[in-house]
Subunit: 115 residues, 2 copies
Amino acid sequence: MPPPPEPKAAGLLQGTLDMMILQVIALEPQHGYAIATRLQQISKDVLQVQQGSLYPALHRLEKKGWLAAEWKESEQGRMAKIYSLTKAGKKQLAEEAENWRRMSAAIGLVMGTAQ
Amino acid sequence: MPPPPEPKAAGLLQGTLDMMILQVIALEPQHGYAIATRLQQISKDVLQVQQGSLYPALHRLEKKGWLAAEWKESEQGRMAKIYSLTKAGKKQLAEEAENWRRMSAAIGLVMGTAQ
DNA sequence: CTACATACCAAGAAGCACGATGTATGTAGA
DNA sequence: TCTACATACATCGTGCTTCTTGGTATGTAG
């Protein structure tokens, strides 16, 4: 049998996935599969979003009205559901980003990583 | 009736509570009530740990062997359960702190807060 | 025709923070 | 004395999010 393929250690902080999805889409409308790829690229392989986390999150965000979906052709020439930010989504992203800054700064204070 | 007492906005990132508890206790053994107070002080009121989050977390950490508990007199002259870090707890804290740094840095990259 | 990358989705389980609620004691003030 | 408040512990149920695992389908390269 093959050696256990590394712990994988995803373990995302709750709530940050939604925020990062909004952020990636804010830069440019994307389909789900590409969002996961981009997140992994940008974070230099630290963040590896599972599909079982990604798609529920996308549906969640669409349901709340932060995202709008549309079937289009992807860059690879295949049909894909392209998500883009709604106006409410932009506002939500701004709020969550601000909250993230406050929170991570506070945690930084506690952990002595401040400054 | 009194005006609604401010949103309170706790909303901790899941998983970080354990890490911060370990960190606060690493600085000095504390009892539960004091841990919550300290966290609030250090974070300048950004982090407000509910008792319904705190005590389960303490029991969880003790069960895993990261914390050791002992009944002693508090600074206020009352009996309190003082928690201190075990050897395993120190190791765990180091791991979680390192992981936090990697994670928050990665999220920072995504959010454009980098540098 | 097999494997792989692309692209979507669902179901079940587990973990965790939260809100509400309860107990008890010591102290300060009315 | 009676009341309020701070200290100090704790449990329970709920809801949300993430993870794991599995499944569908298409195009392309070998």
